[in-house]
Amino acid sequence: MKTTSIEDKLAVNKYDIDKDRHIQIREDICATCEAHPCLYACPADCFKLREGHITFSYEGCLECGSCRIVCDKEAVKWALPRAGFGICYQYG
């Protein structure tokens, strides 16, 4: 069996994607962080390290809250998507 990438996994999920992002990150704080726990905590790979910078994309977020718990620098301004938006589990 070949490995399934997270992108391929998220592609089968049903989302209603809002036009605004529900989670904001403070990139200036992220720039001072060496550990980047968010990279490993996010099960949907929403955090990426690109040329030394942390970037965040909200579209695939599974709303688990792990990023908020692991970031001890308070760089994740965490919120849920607006009601009715975000992940919409068909199985759960």
Partner: protein
């Protein structure tokens, strides 16, 4: 000003629905607010639900609720890279009503449960988020939702592990990643006949299969497979702090697990239909928030009510029982018209009388025990290596069991360490 409800329940999961059903049945004006498009849209769990809490509420619920299969078989496996050592328990007793447990998919199940609350007389508002609390002095007096103020005598926050309302009420501080296990799960569709053949099941029979071992790379946690009617729930539940410390993501561990020879064949030709994730509060009694304040109660995951013993990881029945206890407390408070802290103090008393706080007390040392890395690496290795020695015929004279054990144990774990671990197990679980 909007109509004042007797109670507003936030979150239409098992805790919220159980609470709403009981409140509405007692004739209280009850509103259940759910941020998902429908109840269950935001919810996931591993997939098995045990115990009598639901049939106490709805006798014969399995006749009408969208349960998948009843759990007849329990299997535990210790895995190394290329071997597995299993204990497999089946009891025909589990195949008779009221059954012992079911595999359940939340998206369908929660919708059913919310409909039951509606039938009982509660108003269920989906697609509505409780953004904040309303206050009257130091007492919670309702919620703000969708820009409206919705007043109520009491708010029952059943809004899950990320409970925003518990934080806003000052009932809970920041959660430590050490007290969280992250669950990631795939639902893999497979034809019915293949599931039954591969897992040796018939009809509506199901298996709950738990795994620990090398795939978690020493990270505390394990994996699971539950059989649904026409799909498998397969996932991994691992300590969040250890993931970030070791710089590994749970999905990598899940992929390793799926490629284990014991697992790979079970999934062959299956089709991935959903990928989900959730945090499980596993800190036990030590991480429990304050459960109530003036005009407000917490139930389910929002109250940190899950049980982890290493052999079981349960939250669903704790959610239902705590939701029901919260409802009973509010019903009593309504009679006296007193929704103050003093009046709601009945809630933890009810939980103390039930298995919820009794189990959490009995197993209060279990969370620490389960951080022991030897359970996830050395012991599975030892079991598999010893079994291999027992079954291998190398054409040379055989050794006695104890001698083989000592050979495998030496250099891996000291006997003294094993005795200490055994003593800790005895004390903790």
């Amino acid at each position: 000003m909007n109509q004042r409800f007797d109670a507003i329940v936030v979150g239409a999961g098992p805790a919220g629905c159980a609470c709403g059903v009981n409140l509405a049945k007692a004739g209280l004006e009850t509103l259940i607010v759910e941020r998902g498009k429908f109840a269950g849209a935001k919810n996931m769990w591993g997939g098995a639900f045990y115990g009598p809490s639901l049939y106490k509420l709805f006798p014969d619920f399995w006749e009408e609720a969208p349960v998948e299969r009843y759990i007849l078989r329990h299997k535990y496996s210790l895995l190394t890279q290329d071997a597995s050592f299993s204990v497999d328990f089946t009891s025909k007793k589990y195949g008779n009503p009221p059954y012992n447990g079911f595999s359940v998919l939340r998206s369908k199940f929660d919708r059913w449960f919310a409909a039951k609350a509606e039938q009982a007389g509660a108003v269920v508002a989906t697609g509505l988020e409780a953004e904040d609390l309303l206050w009257e002095g130091n007492a919670v007096a309702g919620i703000k939702a969708g820009g409206d103020a919705l007043p109520a005598n009491v708010v029952i926050a059943c809004d899950g592990v990320n409970s925003i309302l518990a934080e806003k009420a000052g009932l809970r501080g920041k959660i430590s990643p050490r007290d969280i296990k992250q669950g990631v799960k795939e639902v893999i569709q497979l034809p019915r006949q293949l599931i039954e053949q591969r897992f040796n099941l018939r009809g509506e029979e199901g298996i709950a299969w738990e795994f620990i071992g090398s795939f978690s790379r020493g990270i505390p946690g394990g994996a699971f497979i539950y059989t649904n009617k026409e799909s498998l729930s397969i996932g991994i539940v691992v300590q969040l702090s250890a993931l970030t410390e070791k710089e590994i993501s749970a999905n990598d561990l899940l992929e390793d697990f799926k490629r284990h020879p014991e697992v790979e064949n079970l999934l062959a030709d299956g089709q991935l239909v959903e990928y989900s994730a959730h945090m499980v509060p596993v800190g036990g009694k030590a991480m429990m928030p304050t459960l109530y304040t003036d005009g407000m109660l917490l139930a389910g995951d929002a109250a940190g009510l899950t049980l982890t013993t290493g052999l079981v990881l349960e939250g669903g029945n704790f959610a239902i029982v705590s939701g029901k206890a919260a409802a009973e407390t509010v019903i009593l408070a309504k009679k006296t018209g007193d929704f103050s802290k003093q009046s709601l103090a009945h809630y933890p008393e009810l939980l103390k009388q039930s298995f919820v706080l009794k189990d959490l007390k009995t197993f209060k040392r279990a969370p620490l025990l389960l951080e022991n890395p030897r359970f996830y690496r050395q012991y599975p290795e030892l079991a598999c290596e010893l079994a291999e020695k027992i079954f291998t015929n190398a054409g040379i004279p055989r050794k006695k069991l104890w001698k083989m054990f000592r050979e495998s144990q030496r250099g891996r774990i000291s006997l003294w360490q094993m005795i200490r671990d055994l003593f800790r197990i005895k004390k903790s679980i």
